[in-house]
């Protein structure tokens, strides 16, 4: 099968969205702005009706003809909804949940690609939906050795069209990373706020009046709804508890330093954190106008597509576009990746080191 199956027919492209909250609604708004026909549903009929009212979907219900179906339910409901969508039609299915290994293992289908847009908002529900929510944001896709390359290409193209920068990552590695950059920070914000709330009761409100920008920054995410977290913590408990242990250990190390008035150790710890923070990329990933095509002839064996795309992500090379040529039809195929010209040599060298024979050429 090639994707998109209907794209060449001149008809309107079709997508489906299951779960019409902030993320599902934003996907619907974004795809409709691109001219797609979007069908959506939600277990809560009132939410589906509201999504229709705000223009996030064209129609309520299922669409067996959808090229791509986005599962935007809570994490605990993704696997069931994904299997249902895969059974209902020939299109590809992806999700937006914050934990990936459990879902990818549970669904295990060449047409399912785990996904996780690294974008959000303190708003809740489809009324907070925004067609520009994903502009410039990283959107993780988690291909596996059994993922169909053209299915990956279709999802890649669709989320890129929504303005996101695709980062391909192994599902387990994604989960380890988000424990560090999302799940544990969220729990830490809640813990800090909890400690402050305990003191605030004794201080008759004075404490929170004196909380300046730093404290506000550090606790802002604790103002978000609790709803998604039981599922996330359930599915990613091993990684989360491991990182919590590291954080507690680091806090206890700092406590010992403070209690012992060990000035130079304190400065060293703070300088290390400062250097790391200053070295962070300014705002997600960046698109560039100056791009080239990297063409990679590949054997049609499992895992090639995953290896190539994950390699790009590990090198910090954005996949501006991704396309496969005959990769599933013949014994050998071609993967075409569009990357920043400045990164092309680095990416090519890494591919050569893995035994590939890439060529780099101007786009077009």
């Amino acid at each position: 099968m090639t994707f998109p199956p209907e794209a060449g027919a001149g008809g309107q492209r079709r997508a489906a969205v299951v779960g019409l909250g902030l993320i599902g609604g934003s996907i619907g708004l974004g795809l409709r702005r691109l001219g797609w026909h979007v069908t959506g549903r939600d277990h809560d009929p009132a939410r589906a009706t509201r999504a229709l009212q705000v223009g996030a979907v064209d129609a309520i219900g299922a669409d067996p003809a959808a090229e791509v179906t986005f599962i935007a339910t809570p994490v605990g409901a993704v696997a069931g909804a994904a299997r249902q969508a895969l059974a209902a039609g020939p299109g590809v299915v992806t999700d937006v949940g914050g934990v990936k290994a459990s879902v990818v293992a549970a669904v295990d289908d060449p047409r399912f690609i785990g996904g996780h847009p690294m974008a959000g908002s303190e708003l809740e529900g489809v009324d907070g939906a925004d067609a520009d929510l994903f502009t410039g944001a990283a959107w993780v896709l988690t291909p596996t050795p059994t993922t169909a390359p053209d299915a990956f290409g279709l999802v890649h193209g669709t989320v890129s069209a929504l303005g996101a920068d695709v980062v391909a990552v192994d599902p387990a590695r994604h989960d380890a990373i988000v424990a560090v950059v999302s799940h544990v920070p969220h729990l830490t914000a809640a813990a800090l706020m909890g400690v402050a709330a305990g003191h605030a009761q004794d201080q008759e409100g004075l404490l929170l009046r004196l909380a300046a920008g730093g404290f506000r920054d550090m606790t802002r995410i604790s103002a978000g709804p609790a709803g998604i977290w039981p599922d996330v913590c359930n599915d990613n408990a091993p990684a989360i508890t491991a990182v919590l242990d590291e954080l507690v250990s680091e806090l206890e190390r700092l406590r010992t330093i403070v209690a012992g008035r060990r000035r130079s150790d304190l400065v060293a710890a703070l300088e290390r954190a400062r250097d790391a923070r200053l070295a962070m990329p300014a705002g997600g990933t960046r698109r560039t106008a100056d791009v080239v095509e990297v063409r990679v002839p590949v054997a049609n064996r499992p895992g090639v597509m995953m290896e190539v795309t994950v390699l790009a992500s590990e090198l910090g090379v954005n996949l501006e576009a991704f396309e496969t040529v005959d990769a599933t039809e013949a014994d050998r195929g071609m993967i075409i990746l569009v990357v920043a010209a400045a990164a092309a040599a680095r990416f090519r060298d890494a591919l050569v080191a893995k035994g590939y024979h890439p060529t780099v050429r101007p786009v077009g």
Copy 2:
């Protein structure tokens, strides 16, 4: 002595600033914009020269005729610089350090009032100075039973003129509060960043690319210079270690909940944090146009001024203005406080409960 000693003479009001970094420079810029003459010095002559170049001071050096001297050095140098300024002239002296009990105890002078503007910036040095840095920010003053009321009134009026909202707090209580809302959050940001930096090395940069807004918010303050922290942690170690213990205990509680997949306990913890965060005042304290005068006849005994101003802060009542009438000259005096009309009844009732006989009247 009454303050300001020179204000009635028609001459230009005079201030001095010791330590010409971000905060000292911002005070200088703000006071000069208000028409004051500002003399400043710094142990680094190059910094003093730069402060003169950017217009933060009129002159470099000491000014024995300064009505008010701001000590804006690192915390460890405040007590010495404050004693020197008190010995050099008859004016009042205040500081801007992040820890108060140790400094207030070390200086122990009726003309010294501990202060702490709750404003800052990731910028460093006088080149980051901004005359508007304090606009709308809380500025803690820490009167003691021996503080001269008119000295308090002069500092109050000066920092209010810089745009800040004065909050009067007992020095030890200030230190306990900032351990919760500033010092431990800062160490936590550094610990989180340290944990992430450790993982980032293994993940070849992928991790930091996937760090979205929440992680950025939570680690932003770790990008600040380490310079002030050894002094702060040294002077406030007992409060900081106590709050670190509470935070670690709360993180371990959350770890147990996550490991045990205890969904309802997790939701309860997150909802508690959420409620507290949503209940935080939106942005520091608020000025209001609708104010009244509360006049409080007081016995000229130690601690009255502190009791009245701290009571206002505890009730969340902003002191829009503060004035003393004859409080140090006669056996009985009067404290005049300007507060929001909406808060006047609450403040009056609390004063009555403490045995005062306040009257409330329109301003002017």
